[in-house]
C-alpha cells in the first residue's frame, strides 16, 4: 500500500467509524491493560518473593508473607554457594545441555531431512518408529535404561547422560523437523543437485540454512527440556555428587531443607539457579521469540 492510499484508508475509517467506536476502545484498552498487568504481576510476584525470602530468616519465612526481610542477610547465599555447590552444578548442566542439544539438532535434523524428502522403502515405518517415542513415559524406562547404559560402560558419566538426552529428544525433534523440511520448496534442492552438489552438501549448505527458523525454535525447546530434566540424571548420575546437574542440586537442597530447616538457603539456591537462565533469556529473547515465531509461520 502506498502512503497515500494508506492515509486515505485511515481517514476514511476514522471518519466512518468514529461515532460508533469511540467509547469502546477506551474500556477495552483499560481492561486489556489491566489483564496484562495482572498477569505480569502473577509472574513477577512469586519470583520476587523467592528472591526476598533468600534474605529472610526461617522465622520470617514462616511469618507474614508480605513482610520484607528485617535485615539484609547474605549468609544464605554463601551457604547455597559453598555447601550446595550450585556453581558447580550450573557448569555441569551448561556443558551437558550444550553438547546434547547440539547432538540432538545434528542427528535429529539429519534423520528428519531424509525421512521428509527422500522416498525409500521403509521410510514411513522409520518415521513412525521415531515418533512413537513421544508417547513413552520416561520413568517407565528408568530401570532398564540403567542397565543399558551400564552395559555400554557409560554409567555415571556425562557422556552417557548426553547420549541418553539426545536419544530421548529425537522423537519430538524428528517429528517437528520432518514437518518443517517437507514445507521447504523442492526447486532449490533440485537446482543444487543439477549444479552437481552432493546430497550431503545440499543438506548442510542449502537446506539447513533454509530451515534456520525451524531449527532455532526446536533448539530452544530442547535446551529447555534438557535443562529441566530431572529423572534421567537422578539415576544415571547417581553416584558422584560433583557430577550432578542443577535440578538434582535443587531437589537435594529442597529435601535437605526439610531435614536441616535451611529454607533461606533453599531459596538462595533457587535464585542462583534461576538468575543465569533469566539473564540468558533476556539477552537472547529477541532471537528466541523471532525463532519461535518464524517456526510458527511454517
Amino acid at each position: 500500500m502506498t502512503p497515500d492510499s494508506l492515509r486515505s484508508v485511515r481517514q476514511a475509517r476514522s471518519s466512518r467509524s468514529l461515532p460508533a467506536d469511540r467509547p469502546r476502545p477506551g474500556v477495552l484498552n483499560g481492561l486489556s491493560h489491566a489483564a496484562l498487568a495482572v498477569w505480569a504481576l502473577l509472574i513477577v510476584a512469586p519470583l520476587l518473593w523467592t528472591f526476598l525470602a533468600s534474605f529472610k530468616s526461617n522465622t520470617e519465612i514462616f511469618g507474614d508473607a508480605l513482610q520484607l526481610p528485617g535485615e539484609l542477610r547474605l549468609d544464605a547465599w554463601g551457604r547455597a554457594w559453598g555447601k550446595a555447590h550450585v556453581g558447580r552444578y550450573l557448569l555441569n548442566t551448561a556443558v551437558v545441555v550444550a553438547v546434547s542439544t547440539f547432538g540432538t539438532m545434528l542427528f535429529g535434523s539429519m534423520a528428519a531431512y531424509v525421512l521428509a524428502r527422500y522416498r525409500f522403502p521403509g521410510s514411513r515405518v522409520i518415521y513412525y518408529y521415531f515418533t512413537a517415542g513421544m508417547a513413552f513415559p520416561v520413568f517407565l524406562a528408568l530401570g532398564p535404561l540403567f542397565f543399558v547404559v551400564k552395559r555400554v560402560g557409560l554409567l555415571y558419566t556425562h557422556t552417557g547422560v548426553i547420549l541418553v538426552y539426545i536419544a530421548y529428544s529425537l522423537p519430538f525433534t524428528v517429528f517437528f523437523l520432518a514437518a518443517f523440511f517437507r514445507t521447504l520448496p523442492e526447486s532449490v534442492a533440485e537446482a543444487a543437485r543439477i549444479d552437481g552438489a552432493s546430497h550431503t552438501r545440499t543438506f548442510f549448505q542449502i537446506m539447513l540454512p533454509m530451515a534456520r527458523a525451524g531449527l532455532v525454535s526446536i533448539t530452544i525447546f530442547n535446551v529447555l527440556g534438557q535443562w529441566n530434566q530431572y529423572l534421567l540424571p537422578l539415576v544415571l548420575l547417581a553416584r558422584d555428587q560433583e557430577d550432578w546437574v542443577i535440578t538434582q542440586g535443587i531437589a537435594n537442597i529442597s529435601t535437605l531443607a526439610g531435614y536441616e530447616a535451611d529454607w533461606p538457603g533453599l531459596f538462595a539456591a533457587v535464585c542462583m539457579a534461576v538468575l543465569p537462565v533469566l539473564v540468558v533469556y533476556v539477552v537472547f529473547q529477541r532471537q528466541i521469540q523471532s525463532g519461535l515465531g518464524a517456526g510458527a509461520l511454517k
Partner: protein, 304 residues
C-alpha cells in the same frame, strides 16, 4: 548408480540416530513391556511370568480409575484455559493497540509483557515447585493467603482441600505454559496480512469482531498444534504434582495421575511388574489421544 548413492546417503544419515534411539529408548521400553507381564519386585533375579494378571488387576483398581479421571480433567482444562488466555494476550499484544503507524499494533509495553510472560517457561519444575509451595501455603505465611488475610478474608487451603488441589495445580501448569503460546500465537498473528484488518476495520468492525472473524479462523492450525502439545503435557504432569502435592498425589490421592501411581508402585511398594503395566496403559492412552487428535484435525502432518 545414482539410486544406490542416494540410498547410501539415506543410510548414512539415519544410522547414528536410529542406533542411539534403538539402544537408549526402544530397548528399555521393550524390557518394560516384558516386565509388565511379570510379578517382578525390582530385586528378584528371575521374576515369574503372570501373563495379563497385572492388567486384570488394573481394571479393578479404584486408584487407577481415579488417576484416569484426573487425566481427563487435565486433558480438557489445561489446553482450553491455556489457549484461551494465550489467545487473548496474543491478540492484545499484537493488535490491541488499534491502528498506530502503518497497520495494527500492540498495546503499549507489549515488548515488556512478551518478555515477562515467557519467564515461567525457563524455570525448572523443581524451582516452580518450591515457588508455588510458598505461594499456596495455607496460613498467613503463604503469598496468596497472606494477602487474603490482609484483606480480611479467610485463608484458603489451596493444596489441602481435595476438591481444590488439582485445580490449584492446573493453575500452575497454565501459569507456566501461557507465555510459550502467547509467543506462538503472536507469530501466527503477525503472519496474517495487515490489509485483512485494514479492510475489516474499514467496514467498521470492532476489535472483538476482528478477533473472531479474522484472527481466530486464520490461526486455526496453530491452535490445533497447541492443543496436541498441551494434551501430551497433560498426560505427563508428573513432576509438578509430585513436588507440589506430594509423592502420593495428596490430599487423599485426589491429585494423583498415572505417573504418580507408577512411581509409587515401582519405588515404594516394589511392585515393578504392576507399575510397568500401568506404564503400558499410559502409553496406549497417549498414542490414542495423539492419533485421535490428528485424525479429527484431518491433517496428514503437523507443521508448526
Amino acid at each position: 548408480m545414482e539410486r544406490w548413492r542416494t540410498y547410501g546417503f539415506v543410510a548414512g544419515f539415519l544410522a547414528v540416530p536410529i542406533v542411539l534411539y534403538t539402544v537408549f529408548v526402544i530397548s528399555p521400553y521393550v524390557q518394560a513391556f516384558q516386565i509388565s507381564l511379570t510379578d517382578w519386585n525390582g530385586i528378584a533375579a528371575r521374576p515369574a511370568y503372570v501373563g495379563l494378571d497385572n492388567f486384570g488387576r488394573l481394571l479393578g483398581d479404584e486408584v487407577f480409575w481415579r488417576a484416569l479421571r484426573n487425566h481427563g480433567i487435565l486433558l480438557l482444562v489445561l489446553p482450553i484455559a491455556t489457549i484461551v488466555i494465550a489467545l487473548f494476550f496474543a491478540f492484545v499484544l499484537n493488535l490491541g493497540g488499534g491502528a498506530r503507524g502503518p497497520g495494527m499494533a500492540g498495546v503499549r509495553g507489549s515488548g515488556f509483557y512478551r518478555v515477562v510472560f515467557f519467564f515461567p517457561q525457563v524455570l525448572a519444575v523443581a524451582v516452580v515447585g518450591v515457588l508455588f509451595k510458598a505461594v499456596y501455603r495455607p496460613d498467613e505465611s503463604g503469598v496468596i493467603n497472606g494477602a487474603l488475610i490482609r484483606l480480611g478474608m479467610e485463608p484458603v487451603g489451596w493444596l489441602i482441600e481435595p476438591d481444590l488441589a488439582l485445580w490449584s495445580i492446573i493453575a500452575v501448569m497454565v501459569w507456566q505454559a501461557v507465555g510459550f503460546y502467547v509467543v506462538l500465537f503472536s507469530a501466527g498473528m503477525a503472519a496474517i496480512p495487515k490489509d485483512y484488518f485494514e479492510a475489516a476495520a474499514l467496514d467498521g468492525a470492532g476489535r472483538v469482531r476482528l478477533f473472531f472473524s479474522i484472527t481466530l479462523p486464520l490461526l486455526r492450525d496453530t491452535v490445533q498444534v497447541g492443543w496436541v502439545y498441551l494434551g501430551i503435557a497433560a498426560f505427563d504432569g508428573f513432576a509438578l504434582i509430585q513436588v507440589l502435592a506430594g509423592e502420593k498425589g495428596e490430599p487423599d490421592g485426589a491429585t494423583t495421575v498415572l505417573p504418580i501411581e507408577i512411581w509409587k508402585n515401582a519405588f515404594s511398594y516394589s511392585k515393578v511388574g504392576y507399575a510397568s503395566a500401568m506404564g503400558v496403559a499410559l502409553f496406549f492412552l497417549t498414542v490414542t489421544f495423539a492419533v485421535l487428535t490428528l485424525r479429527t484435525t484431518r491433517r496428514e502432518r503437523i507443521d508448526l
